[in-house]
Symmetry: C2
């Protein structure tokens, strides 16, 4: 590494940040990737961790391990808290709270988005989102725990509540988790209980729109709806969830409000950009939209700062969807732009190539939309399998993942059904820690003697 | 199931409880197995979960899934809190706190043992034990997190502290976790860091005795010591740990006290029987020993109550060691005794057949003591592999476990390196919840409206 090399700081180790970093692997630059978690997350398979098919390690490899061969890069476990666009530096906090500055020549911010409860953050306690490994493991404990509670419950009405699952949001995540909860209850747990029939579980899917997977087009959307119906998932469309509490959800549909008792709720409805989007917008005069995303220019940079890129779920541009594919392509675009500038070449705006979208409905059934080609059923599932395996390629866990799938889809097994005190208590613990979903202190407590800013060597 | 069948209640789903339940599978009895966790735990491989080789699901299958084919048995997720030996019933609490009574004709209590800090429970905050999945996942976060903190630390002295690991206890668990931390640092993490050299990590093993693995005999004990030395594990024998705090341990050796700075500590020293042992002793007039174990009679029953068995790590009998093999054989013995009584046959005292013991030192190296035969090195490791695979047989995860081992031992990979907020915060959360390591509430909070005793249907 040259000490006078162009310094690129990448914020976030998701799809955007990872592809941005990789694109710079042979460039004459020094890259620092900062993330507040130790792992990248293959979010499209998070629902499989929540329902016991995969372990967390299989979809969340350590960022530094994925990028270990890239010698011009280092990874720091820290939370970026401030930008100083004039001095060209970011301020980050280590897990023990100590802050340090990282100077940059180019900055790529790819901090993603979290769950949005549309102004009703109090719902989160009862309806975890589907954005992090923590969310998935907590949902695993809640979903499998609900069957345990039902088995113990002598009162028929309460047993019914425990055997009712409500999923809010009819996009791919909502459809996939609803489908998997149904499969779990119908095909996996049959022999395990004595007092209850797990197959009698009620799985409800709520969405404000007219159809599930609306973005996939009418034909695939209808196929998905029929697939879910066959699994016994109740689809409540044109239904707005207006309240969620400990024992149920309240839904408004056609001017009427109705209460559905349900102990287990999953929120897969909205997204809210990382707070870093607003910080960048305030510092640069850019706009943010209702979801908190920063409006970027056609080349993904922010106004007056051609050296600062905002990419992926935290930015808005030409109505691009918040999907992994956009983040990856923008990561490549941002790093390519930096490389071209270093060579004195011309740069251009970002152009998105839509490679399509896909969602699994049940085992061996998926819907896939790819460049006008639309597949469903078993053929769709084969395409789903192929693409997901291809994207997992970079990681070590492809083999164990395939084995997990074989056991889950052919053997009806769920190899990862363990749940722990950690999973059930985590939300409470995070709330008590002030709501900051950060690692806080790896030594088990905050250390006040170590506060304050430290110099960077 | 006959409603007038002999009712057997089994408390605990560890090795003792599981083998007791299985032994009754064709008996004309109705079995209820109660455990406060949803999973059995293959404790001998816990150190592999802590160091990223295996996922939690691979060593902790759901109890009800393992026993799903046994139609005369049901599993309840509840915590046994009281025994009424006169009325022949136990009182258990569900995860939401509601209590219920379970009547029995025969009772097998196999509640195991937890970690003992020899009167220094305040050490637990700084030195997690190795008894539960929670412990292992927390240690995973601390061990891997220590390298992350070292990478961020500009001060050389503090970086040294983060790269120092102290393991207390030179039995199989301590030897195995110390060996794995050393392998992790020497062989796995080499390429992942930029500022630190993970291989420079210092791993210390403290024990009050003269040798590691003292119970294995001199020859194997010496082999193990040499194996650990080759890995670079410092063995501090005849050393008593007198204090543990955030940044180090204090050790007394030869009349002198010395402080060793070390950020990451693992406690693998002592065990304390489940509090249920004392409850049973008080109710029956039996003795308990210093480790809280109840002294049972030669057939594993308690005084004046031939229908009540106490087995495994929570009982003491003829100086039997606290190992899985004793618990398994006693589980089989207790259930066989119940079956013989139902047939009017004679019963006998418990006789332990010592099948030997084993411990891995590093990859491809283990020490095995089996009926006078003593193996070490690669041959010992083959025996270790064979026996562990044989014991995992009952579980679905044998195939993925072998694959995990292949990747870990041949490829130097660690497929499960993900750690989360849950893992880092769990000990604090459990403390704040009053120190009760129970699931508390699967609905995310305690529900005061649901307190009190409920009738059993």
């Amino acid at each position: 590494m040259q000490s006078d090399a162009h310094r690129v700081v990448v914020v976030g180790g998701g799809f955007g940040g990872l592809f941005a970093a990789r694109t710079l692997r042979r460039a004459p630059v020094q890259v620092t990737l900062v993330d507040r978690l130790n792992h990248h997350l293959f979010q499209p398979l998070l629902y499989q961790v929540a329902t016991g098919i995969l372990s967390e390690g299989e979809i969340a490899p350590p960022i530094r391990n994925v990028l270990r061969r890239q010698r011009n890069l280092e990874v720091e476990l820290a939370e970026v808290q401030e930008f100083d666009l004039e001095r060209r530096s970011v301020t980050a906090a280590r897990p023990d709270g100590r802050r340090f500055r990282i100077p940059y020549d180019s900055l790529i911010v790819a901090a993603g988005a979290g769950q949005s409860y549309f102004g009703h953050d109090e719902f989160s306690r009862w309806a975890p989102g589907m954005k992090t490994i923590n969310d998935a493991l907590e949902l695993r404990g809640r979903i499998l725990g609900a069957f345990e509670m039902a088995e113990l419950e002598p009162d028929a009405g309460k047993r019914r509540e425990w055997l009712t699952f409500a999923v809010v949001g009819g996009g791919p995540t909502g459809v996939e988790i609803a489908g998997q909860i149904a499969e779990l209850s119908r095909k996996v747990l049959n022999d395990d209980f004595r007092e209850i029939d797990p197959a009698s579980a009620r799985v409800m899917l709520f969405d404000g729109g007219e159809k599930v997977l609306a973005s996939f087009g009418d034909r695939l959307s209808d196929k998905a709806a029929r697939g879910l119906e066959r699994l016994g998932v109740e689809q409540h469309m044109s239904s707005i969830v207006t309240d969620i509490d400990r024992t149920g959800v309240v839904v408004k549909s056609g001017g009427e409000e109705k209460r559905f008792p349900a102990r287990t709720k999953v929120w897969a409805a909205g997204v809210q950009a990382s707070p870093l989007a607003r910080l960048l917008a305030e510092a640069s005069g850019a706009e943010t939209d209702r979801a908190g995303r920063i409006a970027v220019q056609s080349d993904c940079t922010i106004p007056s700062h051609p050296e600062v890129f905002a990419i992926g779920d935290m930015m808005s541009l030409d109505g691009l969807p918040g999907v992994a594919e956009v983040a990856m392509q923008q990561g490549i675009h941002a790093s390519s732009t930096i490389k071209r500038r270093l060579k004195g070449r011309e740069t251009s705006g970002f152009r998105y190539r839509d490679l399509g979208s896909m969602a699994t409905i049940s085992k061996f059934r998926a819907v896939v939309s790819f460049k006008g080609i639309r597949l469903s059923g078993f053929l769709g599932w084969c395409a789903w399998l192929f693409v997901h395996l291809a994207f997992l390629t970079g990681f070590k866990n492809r083999l164990t993942t395939v084995l997990g799938w074989t056991m889950a889809f052919i053997g009806n097994g769920r190899p990862e059904r363990t749940f722990t005190v950690q999973q059930v208590l985590s939300r409470v613990a995070i709330e008590q820690a002030g709501g900051r979903p950060f690692l806080l202190s790896l030594s088990g407590e905050d250390d006040p003697t170590e506060g304050g800013e430290i110099p960077r060597e």
